[in-house]
């Protein structure tokens, strides 16, 4: 039982940290630029496809991940300069429509280039096997690497946001955009940089999740919904909120899937429990979001006090 709890905790941590990579960029863009970017998931998809393409061409996963992060950041910057910049002053409806169009365009372009069948991205051979953590308990090496990368990025982002001048601008922008601009922050440049960083984080998540899941058209949409749940729970514009929210969602989802059916079976018949369990588990995170919204409508760590 204790091994099961340990393993599920690791699973939840891994899933949560990957959600954090996606949510961090999304919450900054939403919080600072007040832009609802539905195409955020597309950057994740583009990153994963770049990893798959480069890994296939060169055979090196590390090289592929690096190329994807740099390439996706460049695409993100290009998107911001060419399209999204024009949307900052528009209302949310125009933003949703425009970024939804972007999402559809991205999907179709990727479908044209790579086809509608998923691309299978193999685990890098060095991390393909299990690692023995305790006697009788081994855990996939790649998932441990994912946790390591996630923690490192979280730390890096913390230092970037809390300890550097650029981080100060970002925080200033998140809490009051007009005032930050009035105080001489080059908001235009800041927005482009933040968007580029968000895109790079998306690509990193794509590189980490691509080999575990599948690289396919539409992979961004399902995870984008979860990323929005995360930033709503964490508080829009707050990196700390995104981290806490992502870990909460990751844990609740994993624990819900693993332990809820077990719990139900203790007082329901197995047939009923196996029917109700998965249904309840899949709505657990939305129940969590509803509860947070009820007691703290601004999220757990609102950027704007």
């Amino acid at each position: 039982m204790s091994v099961l709890i340990l393993e599920q905790t690791l699973n939840g941590l891994q899933f949560g940290l990957m959600l954090f990579l996606l949510a961090a960029g999304l919450t900054l863009v939403f919080g600072i630029m007040d832009l609802i970017n539905l195409a955020h998931g597309s950057l994740y998809m583009i990153g994963a496809y770049l990893v798959a393409a480069v890994a296939q061409a060169t055979g090196s996963f590390a090289l592929a991940a690096l190329a994807a992060v740099v390439g996706t950041a460049a695409i993100g910057v290009l998107l911001e300069v060419a399209v999204l910049r024009r949307l900052y002053t528009r209302d949310h409806l125009s933003q949703v429509l425009a970024t939804f169009a972007l999402l559809l365009i991205c999907n179709e372009v990727v479908r044209l280039i790579f086809g509608s069948q998923p691309v299978m991205l193999s685990l890098p051979p060095a991390l393909a096997g299990p690692v023995q953590l305790l006697p009788g308990f081994s855990y996939p090496a790649f998932r441990l690497a994912v946790i390591g990368v996630g923690l490192a990025v979280a730390l890096l982002l913390y230092v970037l946001v809390a300890r550097t001048r650029m981080g100060m601008w970002v925080r200033a922008g998140a809490s009051n955009r007009e005032m930050a601009a009035a105080m001489g922050v080059d908001v235009k440049l800041l927005f482009t940089a933040v968007f580029g960083i968000g895109a790079a984080l998306c690509a990193l998540a794509g590189a980490m999740l691509g080999p575990i899941l599948a690289v396919q058209v539409g992979m961004g949409e399902s995870i984008l919904i979860l990323a929005f749940v995360v930033i709503v729970i964490g508080g829009i514009g707050s990196i700390r909120g995104a981290l806490v929210g992502a870990l909460l969602v990751g844990m609740v989802d994993t624990v819900g899937r693993a332990f809820l059916p077990m719990l139900l079976r203790s007082f329901l018949s197995p047939a009923v429990a196996s029917g109700v369990g998965p249904a309840l588990a899949s709505i657990a995170i939305y129940v969590l979001m509803a509860a947070v919204l009820f007691w703290r409508p601004q999220g757990l760590f609102p950027a704007r006090g």
């Binding site: 393993e7 299978m120 023995q132 599948a214 196996s274 369990g277």
Partner: protein, 388 residues
């Protein structure tokens, strides 16, 4: 514009007044995108191969096949089939991969007095009391293949099994089929969401339950991911994997590779089946598509050949649905699985075989048939079907 409309309506009038049909229209709706796309693509390629070998004709009539992707979505499927039966006036609907899609579209097809030839999905709901005279299957009833896997598991002496299947109609059918023939104990049964790709939570549960073996039904990309993640988790040393062809066929094996070796699974057909039809089909498929055909491809091929035989039998009089039904029931076409009968509910009575994934003489990782597990096996629901 006006002239074009006139010509078109004239053509329509002419077509409607013709007595015997001058063409066969087939609505081929399948899952051609997403993680399970390989299944739909195999069924489509098998169907097209049969069509090509017949010179583009079905039963001597020119065939028009409308191919559409249902995106594994029941609502989209319903819209497509609505268009098939109401605007295109197809004679047959076929190609559907998923049981939840098939169950969503079946009422539309039946109400419009159109034949539904299943080339894959075989939900139990259509096999028993609610069987339909408009439904025929060239594949299997969902429960039947896992029944053979359950029998193998019992015979092999496994006593503690962990069951894993997606939470949708076919997943439930597969598990109940397995349990019908498996006599040992059950460690746990888990039903993930259909389309789930990360099995970390389920693998942890398997480790905690410590079963002898895991029986899983995870079609398409779900199975690919599960087997890969199972292999990476190191559970393979303690736990045996047992499955059906739906997670151990030519759509899955090349994507997973070495971790497939040694997996026992059951199915109604394999490319090493020894009869002239099967050999001809495998050779033609390999020549045209450059890969080995899966059981799904064989189902697509047989669907086209079943329609071909029925249309030929009624001499193209597709309006006489009673005659078409009789012809489909008589099942005179030469199947790649050898001769088989159609039961009163429209589902096959056929053999199910045990296979194992090995390296063949050419070094390819693929299935080898070992033995017959269930012979001339009808499905468990046919008795309740009121049709004669």
């Amino acid at each position: 514009m006006l002239r074009a409309t006139l010509v078109a309506s004239l053509a329509l009038t002419l077509a409607a007044s013709a007595q015997a049909a001058d063409q066969v229209k087939v609505g081929f709706m399948s899952t051609l995108s997403g993680p399970a796309a390989a299944i739909g693509i195999d069924i489509r390629d098998g169907f097209n191969l049969a069509l090509k070998m017949g010179g583009g004709k079905l039963g001597g009539l020119p065939a028009e096949v409308i191919v559409t992707d249902d995106q594994q979505n029941p609502e989209i499927g319903r819209q497509i089939v609505d268009k098939y039966v109401k605007r295109d006036h197809v004679d047959f609907v076929t190609g559907i991969v998923f049981s939840n899609v098939l169950l969503a579209v079946a009422p539309v097809v039946f109400d419009n007095k159109t034949f539904l030839i299943s080339a894959n999905a075989g939900p139990s709901l259509l096999a028993g009391e609610k069987c339909s005279p408009w439904f025929f299957s060239v594949s299997w009833q969902n429960d039947a293949t896992p029944e053979s896997a359950g029998k193998y598991t019992s015979d092999k002496g496994f006593r503690k099994i962990f069951l894993l299947a997606p939470n949708y109609p076919a997943g439930k059918d597969m598990v109940s089929g397995f349990k019908r023939y498996y006599k040992g104990g059950i460690a746990d049964e888990v039903y993930p969401r259909l389309g789930q790709l990360d099995y970390s939570a389920e693998l942890a549960q398997i480790r905690a339950a410590a079963p002898d073996a895991v029986f899983f039904f995870l079609p398409g990309g779900m199975g690919i991911n599960f087997i890969k993640q199972f292999s990476a988790s190191g559970l393979g040393k303690q736990v045996t994997l047992i499955t059906t062809a739906f997670s151990a066929d030519e759509d899955v094996i090349p994507a997973v590779g070495e971790p497939m070796l040694g997996i026992y699974n059951t199915g109604f057909w394999n490319h090493d089946m020894d009869n002239p039809e099967s050999r001809a089909f495998v050779a033609a498929f390999e020549k045209d598509y450059g890969r080995l055909p899966s059981g799904f491809a064989a189902q697509g091929y047989d669907a086209a050949r079943a329609i071909d035989a029925a249309v030929r039998e009624v001499k193209g009089r597709l309006d006489d649905s009673e005659a078409v039904r009789k012809a489909l029931r008589a099942n005179t076409f030469k199947s790649v699985r050898g001769p088989f009968k159609i039961n009163r509910n429209g589902f096959p009575i056929q053999n199910y075989y045990l296979r194992v994934v090995e390296r063949d003489a050419k070094g390819r990782i693929t299935n080898r048939t070992l033995s017959t597990v269930l012979k001339d096996h009808p499905d468990a629901y046919a008795e309740q079907c009121p049709l004669k």
